[in-house]
């Protein structure tokens, strides 16, 4: 049995895990920084780096204790060394290097996106998964189509073997998760945006089944497997402001929806929120009073005022918008993944990344795909170190160990 200790600090989760033979999770520790970044509506890199430096040792020690092993039981160290925030990555990479060097064991550098794919290899220990069987589910089969959707990435990749990737397409602007975060901010739903938008959208379906659907554009970018989500996001922004939805919108119909769905005062509340949002300013759709002032997301103020997250109540109009946005994004993601799966004759589709936690995306992929769809447990969709350990183990088996000069690569590509 080979136990890999893995460290993941590419964005805002300080994580460490021990995984046996690339599949069996012995421990999985994730220290989330969500509370730290929530008031900024996004990850503040300097704060994230400082928190990683404070969290790294407790995370590693907890991972060893929970795995029930001492340092002698660690056979290799894997670390995600990109893509991600440089300042965050280097805390994990330097700690991992020092540990591997000190213990005289191999060091493996893992691409963070590769880690997300390998979440599909992980199995929960018997008992935790709810079943008592001791045999593992079969490993994913190649060729495998991977849809990696997270806060920083939206990529379609064909994996023909361990460590062999071919990039089919990627986002041209916002990543899917980023679009969820921005729309959540526009709608005052709080941070992180993925779960917040999903919750609000679920509200819409229950409450306003009779209301006409808001139809947002579906940016198919036909002829490519690339994605683009900033257009949908801008449509949500315009609708939220009470203006036209742009080329595909039907203003009179939308006005009806808004009038029916939104209680008096709602739209001005939303405008108030938008006044402090960098999206409106940078897209030239700034409400009066913001004066075209440009602010980086890091520095923008909190979304707190009034927002649905604070009150726990979502107005029907906001719920409709969240629902329409979620439907548009998941339609495109699932549709293009299924198209690629057919064109390339893959045997499985694997979903990976934080947005894989989205229920609608899961449902659509399962319904539309002609081959089995693999979806990691929700715990392993968001950033974690167990997935890095899994990827690291298979890299180790292939002999791809790193030297002591391993560096961080904020823009590391998978293929």
């Amino acid at each position: 049995m080979t136990s890999v200790l893995a460290i993941e600090t590419s964005c805002d989760e300080t994580a460490a895990a021990v995984v046996a033979d690339g599949r069996r999770i012995r421990s999985n520790v994730v220290f989330s920084q969500d509370d730290l970044h929530r008031r900024f509506g996004g990850v503040v890199p300097e704060l994230a780096s400082r928190q990683h430096l404070l969290g790294i040792v407790p995370a590693i020690e907890k991972a060893l204790v929970e795995a029930g092993i001492a340092w002698d039981g660690v056979d290799a160290v894997a670390v995600s060394h990109g893509p991600g925030l440089a300042g965050s990555l280097l805390v994990g990479v330097n700690a991992a290097k020092a540990i591997a060097f000190a213990r005289g064991i191999p060091l493996v550098g893992v691409n963070h996106l590769e880690g997300h794919i390998y979440a599909n290899w992980l199995t929960l220990p018997a008992g935790e998964s709810g079943c008592q069987e001791l045999h593992e589910p079969p490993a994913p089969e190649f060729p495998l189509l991977c849809l990696i959707v997270s806060g920083g990435h939206s990529e379609l990749v064909i994996m023909t073997d361990h460590g062999r990737y071919r990039l089919l397409g990627r986002t041209r602007d916002d990543a899917a998760g980023e679009a969820f975060d921005k729309v959540a901010r526009i709608l005052g739903l709080g941070y992180p945006g993925g779960p917040a938008v999903q919750r609000a959208a679920a509200h819409a379906k229950v409450r306003d089944a009779g209301a006409p659907d808001l139809q947002l554009t579906r940016p198919w970018l036909r002829g490519t497997y690339d994605f683009s989500f900033s257009g949908i996001k801008t449509q949500v922004l315009r609708l939220a402001e009470g203006g036209s939805a742009g080329p595909v919108g039907n203003p009179s119909r939308l006005a009806q929806v808004a009038a029916r769905a939104a209680p008096a005062g709602t739209s001005s509340d939303i405008s108030g929120l938008l006044g402090r949002d960098e999206l409106g300013r940078s897209r030239g759709a700034a409400p009066a009073g913001t004066g075209g002032e440009v602010s980086r997301p890091d520095e923008s103020g909190a979304t707190g005022r009034g927002g649905a997250a604070a009150g726990g109540e979502v107005t029907p109009f906001v719920a409709q918008l969240a629902h329409a946005f979620q439907e548009a994004v998941t339609d495109v993601l699932a549709g293009k993944a299924c198209l690629a799966a057919e064109e390339f004759g893959v045997r499985r589709i694997a979903l990976a990344g934080g947005v894989a936690a989205n229920q609608r995306l899961r449902e659509k992929l399962m319904a539309e795909a002609k081959v089995p769809v693999l979806i990691p447990d929700v715990t392993f969709c968001t950033d974690n170190a167990a997935m890095i350990a899994a990827a690291g183990y298979f890299r180790l088996c292939a002999g791809h160990t790193a030297g002591w000069d391993l560096d961080v690569y904020p823009n590391l590509r998978l293929a």
């Binding site: 780096s49 430096l53 805390v91 213990r103």
Partner: protein, 256 residues
Amino acid sequence: MRGRTTPTARVPVRRIGPESGRETWHERVLAANAPVIAIDTSTRTGGVALCRGVVPLAEETWLAGGRQTAQMLPAIERLLERAGYTPRDLRLVVVATGPGSFTGLRVGASLGKGLAVALNIPLVGVPALDVVAYQQGAAATRICAVVDAGRGQLYYGTYRRRKLLLEQVGDFGTRTIEELAAELAHAPRGTLVCGELDGSSAELLAGELGDRVQMGTPAAGLRRAVYLAELGRWELAARGADDPAALQPIYLRRSA
């Protein structure tokens, strides 16, 4: 900042060096020939040193720029190999805590934390400005130590010598070279200004202050990790090891 305030002085005074504390449990545990590794990534200039007890064995100091993550550990490996040691022989890790480049400081701190927990040995953090002051030797009685803060600013600390003991007077601060010149106009005559000063900054200080201050040479101002290792041993004796989970750099901001 940690530190001891003398009852009479209004400014905080922190003692550094051989008389900064009595021998403690930690010092006795750390055998006289225990191998010590010291890591300084406070600024673009980085350094590592290996000592056996108080005896320096090997040292590297170089302009690493932004390549510290890639270059530090290979340098440590070279030092150990030259001395015939393995990492498991190490008994103490000392890291420079700045002030300096936030990113650079986190490289050294992460390396130090990883070594300390994986080897189960003590970790001690020492301010980089202490190193600059400490390495100036017994002739300097009043010292203004500086390191580069980027964007035309300097981090500085002022020190005075009482026999072998060095005392930091006041807190670390951030100044432009002009602001530092204005401040040093009130400094005791003969104050030694040393550390990371470029040619034009040194000229400006010399021009403004004449012989009120002595200017250290660039070589004398180069932070040397062997001194960091020595200070680390004294700090371990004086106050014990740092908690590897809680250790963090001195995050001193540049002024706007």
